[in-house]
Amino acid sequence: MTDDIQARTNILEMRGITKTFPGVKALQNVTVDVRRGEVHAICGENGAGKSTLMKVLSGVYPFGTYDGDIVFEDEVMEFRDIRDSEAKGIVIIHQELALSPYLSIAENIFLNNEQKGAFGLIDWNKTNHEAAKLLARVGLRENPTTKIMDIGVGKQQLVEIAKALSKRVKLLILDEPTAALNDEDSDHLLNLILHLKEQGITSIIISHKLNEIKKVADSVTIIRDGKTIETIAKNDVTEERIIKDMVGRDLEHRYPDHTPHIGEEVLRVEEWTAHHPQDPSRVMVDAVNLNVRRGEIVGIAGLMGAGRTEFAMSLFGRSYGSKISGRVFIDGKEVKTRTVSEAIEAGLAYATEDRKTYGLNLIDDIKRNISMAALGKLERFGIVDDGKEYQVANEYRKSMNIKAPSVLAKTGKLSGGNQQKVVLSKWIYSDPEVLILDEPTRGIDVGAKYEIYSIINKLAAAGKGIIVISSELPELLGICDRIYALSEGRITGELPIAEASPESLLKLMTMEKPR
């Protein structure tokens, strides 16, 4: 398959892809060429547009909802949905695996592609036999009748690939395939990708793990802010160049000025440890020590799976994890944070990374969402003062610039930026000492981001301690006074803003546990 002529032809050309969402230009004239039989890495920060690009390619965003052409095997594709792209041999494996936990490996592999025998009934012998053959190809030693829930994430990833092979895949797309895997599983997966390459299967791998890109990729395309920056051939790939491409944007003007007035220590966390809720043998947060002073904005940087959210949520009333230990001090006094209400009482607030699932009651109005965490301030003898609640909410609507006709508007109908302002209002009204903001600008357009940063600055100026968790390094570098790096649940370093750079942070963020 890999004779010279074929190696030089492109299996896929994405030409001038532009995709806009209301208010956001997610992709702008993106061009990517993938040669037949290569492993092509697509690199970029979170929110750079990688996933959007893959959704365009796989037909999740159907033909007509984007501009530009997808040319696959010299033909312009017009995918209406994901089934169309799969029929052509383009299979995407998402970060969140799409397997049914209660079905067997074989059943999952042939889901909606059932191996039928006489009378159109499922031929179980054939199903399991074929599945076993596919499992052998991906190097997974499991019985095809084992249930998905009984195997680990790494093996599930392999089942996904086996499933892709069953569809006679020509172009395999892997979205952050190793994000949830341990080292051994990651190695196996990367070797498998190389092995499949020998069999003539082209792969696109989305990743921001530089060592892994260097290991498998034949070429790397870097995307930033929805635009292609450049495509680098294997021999020219260096970490420095990729990092520079990923983050090298104008950092000025995106962040409001912030002059810190740093006071006494307000939060100190000692030896904070949390284990996985279902699998208590896995340490997710490993003896974290950190502190925040009044007026200080402290960043936590870490790659996906580093334990950022796990740390924040376990700290905030043990909302995540099992076997949690460690000590928390507010203003030098040890406090208990065993339940969310205790944590709020102690002066903590946590604005979640996933507003819609964990932050807002989308079917209720702005007013009631803002008062939700601090109804106690509005009640007398258990009765809520409606009028005062309206007044409070209306003040926040004005001061936070929440764009809605009134505070009686349902939060489900607001834009991401305005929803985030409602979440922030809720926590500010609960009057915390320390606010933990988890991905405060995820899914928010640039203008609203600036407003959110301004709010964060104002809170710091008012003497609150702020922790910002973000996967966007420029954001952390733009607003923080000090940044902790987190890797595999451990704090691997702490840099004052003057010493922090994307390069120095990425080095700390990818620092592995000594083994």
Binding site: F316, G317, S319, T339, V340, S341, A343, I344, Y350, T352, T357, Y358, G359, L360, N361, L362, I363, D364, R368, S371, M372, A373, L375, G376, E379, G382, I383, V384, D386, G387, K388, Y390, Q391, N394, P405, S406, K410, G412, K413, K426, S430
Partner: protein, 413 residues
């Protein structure tokens, strides 16, 4: 529903640039349409009443029948109040009929077999109901078993226990004071008149209270700079409600006066209305039903709220059991059969959402009344029980389908 609320407002915004006079008119119209949207269920009740008044040649609206309507449906309405709260929180309770039967039987033991004073029997019975709620609430809130399963089990358990308590026999004849709960009327307190003065007096007080409350709310909203409806429409609505209360009171006054069941109901609606609209507990229920995770991460003690919700449901199921037993003057094994289905129907017809987070006490009451009028109207017309069942099922389906359609049109979830 929110579609009706928002769309006319949009048109006023456009109208403002074109023609200020038309703007004022459309603004009024928008309020009226918005209210109609919000009160769609109320209009449905009026339509059903009008329909059956015609079909029954006016028998439906005779004073005696109106009085009967309340007394016959009282226990369903009591259950509907608790049920809509449970449904708003995203749960369900299938056991209420069995619990009502169980408590009815227990109250028979207390009041008849043991001969306890009637008030003690009532208080103890209500306590037993609350304990049943403690039992079910424990499994649902603290062990984490779905309410559907726990209350399905409860449906069997308490039906069984009711039969055990009854020991294959009916318990009957209850003390008069106890029976008043289901059959009694507040009447002739001031002597005999063609129109009971007490009923009219209470109605007058209710109307005055309504006016005071409405004007105070309006004033409070204005003082906080909150938008209020146009004064004309505000007054029109008040007058319409006043006329309705007046006619209703006149009907009761010209028959036997105010049923005790109605007084119990009025107190419950008032108290639970405040609980759901104004209290922190009520807010927490809506928050849990709207987004459990968000509620938890906002510091709401979701387990406690769920627990007390079921304790409350047990209490109300007990009360419904007492009213039913009092009305029949008999605690029997078939008591409470199918109550849970009527109560659940009432809540859903009244606009509660299956996924939780949405619903109102008033809606559930009106939903219950719609079912009551359907039952009563069809009975008067001589329609058999089999067709009554089928019609009620259809009404439930259509009511929820209408709701779903409305939400989809307005772009909600």
């Amino acid at each position: 529903m929110s579609d009706l609320e928002t769309k006319p407002t949009d048109s006023t915004a456009a109208g403002a640039q074109v023609n200020p006079i038309e703007n004022k008119f459309t603004e009024r119209l928008s309020h009226i349409l918005g209210d109609l949207g919000k009160n769609g269920i109320f209009i449905a009740l009026i339509l059903v009443v009008v329909l059956f008044s015609i079909l029954t040649n006016g028998i439906l609206l005779r004073p005696q029948n109106i009085s009967n309507l309340i007394v016959q449906n009282g226990y369903i309405l009591v259950l509907a109040i608790g049920m809509v709260m449970v449904i708003i929180a995203g749960h369900i309770d299938l056991s209420v009929g069995s619990v009502a039967a169980f408590v009815g039987a227990i109250s028979g033991v207390f009041a008849v077999q043991w001969g306890l004073p009637w008030w003690l029997a009532v208080v103890l019975s209500l306590l037993v109901g609350a304990l049943v709620g403690v039992w079910q609430g424990f499994w649902i809130a603290f062990v984490g078993i779905p309410a559907f399963i726990v209350t399905l089990a409860g449906m069997l358990i308490f039906r069984g226990l009711a039969l055990v308590v009854l020991g294959n026999a009916n318990i009957g004849s209850f003390p008069d004071e106890y029976r008043a709960l289901g059959n009694g009327f507040l009447t002739n307190v001031f002597g005999e008149y063609a129109l009971d003065p007490l009923t009219l007096g209470i109605a007058a007080i209710a109307i005055v209270a309504l006016f005071v409350q409405q004007f105070r709310t309006r004033a409070a909203r204005q003082s906080y700079g909150q938008e209020v409806e146009p004064f004309g429409w505000f007054i029109t609505k008040l007058v319409l409600v006043t006329v309705a209360i007046g006619l209703f009171a006149w009907a009761l006054a010209s028959y036997k006066g105010i049923p005790v069941t109605l007084i119990v109901l009025a107190v419950l609606v008032l108290v639970y209305g405040i609980v759901m609209n104004r209290s922190t507990f009520g807010r927490h229920i809506y928050a849990i039903g709207g987004n459990l995770h968000a509620a938890e991460l906002s510091g709401i003690k979701t387990r406690n709220v769920t627990f007390w919700l079921f304790v409350n449901m047990g209490f109300l199921a007990a009360l419904a059991g007492l009213i039913f037993t009092a009305r029949l003057n008999l605690a029997g094994p078939k008591a409470g059969d199918g109550f849970e289905l009527e109560a659940i129907s009432a809540a859903f017809i009244g606009g509660a959402a299956v996924q939780g987070g949405v619903g109102r006490i008033g809606g559930a009451i009106i939903g219950g009344l719609i079912i009551g009028v359907l039952n009563n109207g069809m009975s008067i017309m001589g329609i058999g029980i089999e067709w009554q069942q089928a019609v009620k099922g259809l009404v439930l389906l259509l009511a929820v389908a209408f709701d779903v359609y409305n939400k989809r049109r307005s772009g909600g979830r």
